[in-house]
């Protein structure tokens, strides 16, 4: 009895933290989104849900419905995040697989190497890229010398020689992948590391080839890791506005995060910013629920 209460008590700080910094602040966003503004263009939150004003929410939804700028940036955001997530997975899976299955006694070192990028502030890493990718930067020269620049020019992903920072969608996606891929590798590493070696041995004993053992045993068992990794990279990418600002600043790479930033920080229509924040949060919550359901199902299947 006593110990049960001890555990509940220990959970209290975490619950309070989440309560204050997530639920209360999210409620505040709702109250601004369903509020109004005064004649100083300052938001006036309506704290009582009975008073809520749907005028601004409807205005934003109408904008989406008519295919105006909010739809444009939302679709662009989904496109950028989807591509960046797929690329992260393509790059991250082999790395996590190698680290978990083939690094042997170097596993600890490989893990440390994977975590090292976390030691440097995200903004610093992005600023470093700006210097590397400037027209006469080292990165630009290397990409030119090993032919990647040519490949990008040929596929139309780059519009001019050395023009990585000229406002290219591809540069933003590359920056996303670079910035967030460690978040995908770590949960994937954990998932792959946990797979019982004996399952794979059993598959091989029963006549499965290497490839089919991977496809039919390892891959399905790593699905929870893949999902966790994808969620972990997708969530921050959806709200990111500083990466496109830093490596591009072009209107062609304006994402929903940039619009929210513009309305809440620079514009006078903070209510619109709150509405966009709320809509984005709803979409992300839906994604989270899908993730939770999918992992639970995967867990049940694994148990069965």
């Amino acid at each position: 009895m006593g110990s049960r209460w001890t555990w509940r008590f220990l959970a209290l700080p975490g619950v309070l933290w989440l309560g204050v910094f997530f639920l209360v602040s999210f409620y505040a966003v709702l109250c601004v989104a369903f509020g109004n503004q005064d004649s100083l263009s300052q938001p006036v939150p309506f704290w009582n849900p009975l008073d809520w004003n749907v005028g601004y929410v409807l205005e934003v939804l109408r904008n989406f419905w008519h295919g105006d700028q909010f739809l444009t940036v939302s679709l662009r955001t989904v496109e950028f995040v989807a591509i960046a997530m797929a690329l992260s997975l393509l790059i991250g899976y082999p790395v996590a697989y190698f680290a978990a299955r083939h690094s042997g006694r170097w596993k600890g070192l490989v893990l440390v190497l994977l975590i090292i990028p976390f030691w440097i502030n995200y903004l610093m890493r992005m600023l470093a890229w700006i210097n590397l990718l400037s027209p006469d930067g080292w990165g630009t020269r290397v990409l030119h010398n090993i032919g990647i620049e040519q490949l990008f020019l040929w596929t139309g992903l780059l519009s001019a020689r050395g023009g990585w920072l000229d406002g290219q969608p591809s540069a933003v996606i590359i920056a996303f992948v670079y910035g967030y891929v460690p978040f995908l590798i770590l949960p994937l590493f954990v998932a792959l590391d946990r797979i019982d070696q004996r399952h794979i041995e059993a598959a091989r004993d029963l006549g499965a080839s290497r490839a089919s053992a991977f496809l039919r045993v390892t891959l399905p068992l790593s699905v929870p890791g893949i999902l966790a990794g994808c969620v972990l990279v997708a969530l921050p990418m959806f709200g990111d506005y500083y990466t496109p600002d830093l490596v591009s600043a072009s209107t062609k790479t304006n994402l929903i995060g940039n619009q929210i930033d513009q309305f809440t920080r620079q514009g006078s229509e903070k209510v619109v910013g709150a509405v966009l924040t709320m809509l984005l949060a709803i979409v992300l919550l839906a994604l989270m629920f899908y993730y939770l359901r999918a992992t639970r199902r995967a867990g049940e299947e694994a148990a069965a």
């Binding site: 503004q37 809520w52 004003n53 940036v73 400037s134 209107t251």
Partner: protein
């Protein structure tokens, strides 16, 4: 009801409360049924002469709480109220520390050091990133700042409406009449400089790399046209990441082409939308960037043509030239008339703990030598001092000839326009056009 409400909303909610709505309100359907649906801001009703008398005057724009929105043809004298009086003459100076609220890197550290030495008081600086942020924090009243640096005529109605400033006692400000351009001693947004004194002035213009651009931008009939002919510089062209400045640019271009005077404080939604559409053409023409880092990217060559604040080019030339690149590769052009100018002012917080020291600080910054050092050694934005002119700076080798245009002249300041506070409805048109443009 803690907040004032929109009238139409009130009746709907009263209906809900008085009627059978109470039962409905329990469920979600009830919440929806009781919701108002409005985007009309609270308390937006205009003051001023009403009824028959109202027809006898040209309506002036009205801002927060029915206060007038200052315009050059609608100069405003802010009252000094009994509960908010200036400090008395001849008081002794407090010991500080003086707390100053400012943009980052907008005061020369050496000049500050000189002030600290002269008055034996330390100066503590807190920074803000935007005027909006500054006003929100000042209104929250968490910190009682002595001096606020960098706000403009477009913020003054907010500052007065929220009672954030204290009136100035000019007996402490001997340098104001002595050194400052006459028109800024008595600006239309604060007649008699009752609450503010000028700090630095700047204007919007075009910054470019004269070693990378073939065109003689300053020599063009309408120099703004260069942006719409910038295909050869695709990816290396930028406009200022500020809705009012950027959207004003196509407005100026149209006016310059037709030889008319634009209203850069217009609230005409069609005009503003057209400006947004014109700006959007730049997406296809040059994949335009939207940044305020031109002071760095132009010297580094990452951009070669940028819509720019005049001070950016000067600070770029002073600080950001990479080794081997001479500052005279930077050029600046700003319009003689009908363009954008702004005056960032100094003012004293209503709850200032060191009001006398704060007055001394204002007067110190209005001193010719201090303003000059602050300008050429650090800030790059022109103080409106009678004694400072571009020719003198070029002669002394402080700025290259190509940047003479970046030093704002008094006649230029008078013939250009300040971007001023709009009504909420007006702001909304600018926000919408800007959001559309930025979405690409």
């Amino acid at each position: 009801m803690g907040h004032p409400k929109d009238r139409s909303g009130l009746t709907r909610r009263q209906l809900l409360r008085r009627g059978a709505g109470a039962a409905l309100a329990v469920g979600g359907a009830g919440v929806l049924a009781g919701c108002e649906n409005t985007t009309e801001p609270i308390g937006a009703s205009a003051a001023g002469p009403g009824g028959e008398a109202g027809k006898l005057v040209v309506a002036k724009p009205v801002g927060p709480g029915g206060l007038p929105l200052p315009r050059p043809d609608n100069a405003v004298t802010w009252a000094i109220t009994p509960e908010n009086q200036p400090i008395a003459d001849g008081r002794s100076i407090e010991r500080g520390p003086l707390s100053v609220y400012n943009y980052a890197d907008y005061l020369d550290p050496a000049t500050l050091k000189k002030f600290q030495k002269e008055f034996g008081a330390t100066v503590k600086i807190a920074t803000y990133n935007s005027a909006d942020e500054a006003i929100a924090k000042l209104a929250a009243g968490a910190v009682a700042f002595d001096v606020i640096v960098g706000l403009t005529g477009s913020n003054i109605v907010n500052l007065i409406a929220q009672k954030l400033l204290q009136p100035l006692n000019h007996s402490y400000l001997a340098n104001l009449p002595k050194n400052i351009w006459p028109e800024l001693q008595d600006p239309f947004y604060d007649r008699g400089s009752r609450y503010t004194v000028p700090y630095v002035v700047w204007m919007d213009g075009i910054g470019w790399r004269n070693d990378k651009l073939r065109e003689d931008v300053a020599g063009m009939d309408v120099p703004w046209d260069i942006f719409w002919h910038s295909q050869p510089y695709r990816g290396k062209v930028g406009v200022l990441d500020d809705k009012r400045d950027a959207l004003s640019m196509p407005l100026q271009r149209d006016a310059m082409r037709t030889g008319t005077r634009p209203d850069l404080n217009t609230e005409d939604s069609a005009l503003i939308a057209k400006a947004g559409d014109d700006l959007s053409q730049l997406n296809g023409i040059c994949n335009v960037k939207v940044t305020i880092t031109d002071y760095q990217t132009l010297p580094e060559g990452k951009t070669v043509l940028h819509h720019a604040w005049s001070g950016d080019l000067l600070s770029g030339a002073i600080y950001y030239m990479p080794s081997g690149v001479k500052p005279d590769v930077l050029s600046f052009w700003g319009p003689d008339q009908n363009g954008v100018v702004q005056n960032d002012f100094l003012c004293i917080g209503k709850a200032a703990k060191n009001p006398v020291l704060a007055h001394k600080f204002l007067d110190f910054m209005l001193n010719e030598a201090n303003a000059y050092a602050n300008f050429v050694n650090y800030v790059g934005y022109t103080p409106p001092q009678n004694a400072i002119d571009a020719e003198a700076l070029i002669r002394r080798g402080l700025i290259p000839k190509t940047l003479a245009g970046a030093v704002v002249r008094p006649d230029q300041f008078a013939a250009n326009q300040e971007l001023l506070q709009l009504t909420v409805e007006g702001e909304r048109h600018w926000d919408q056009a800007w959001s559309k443009f930025k979405a690409g």
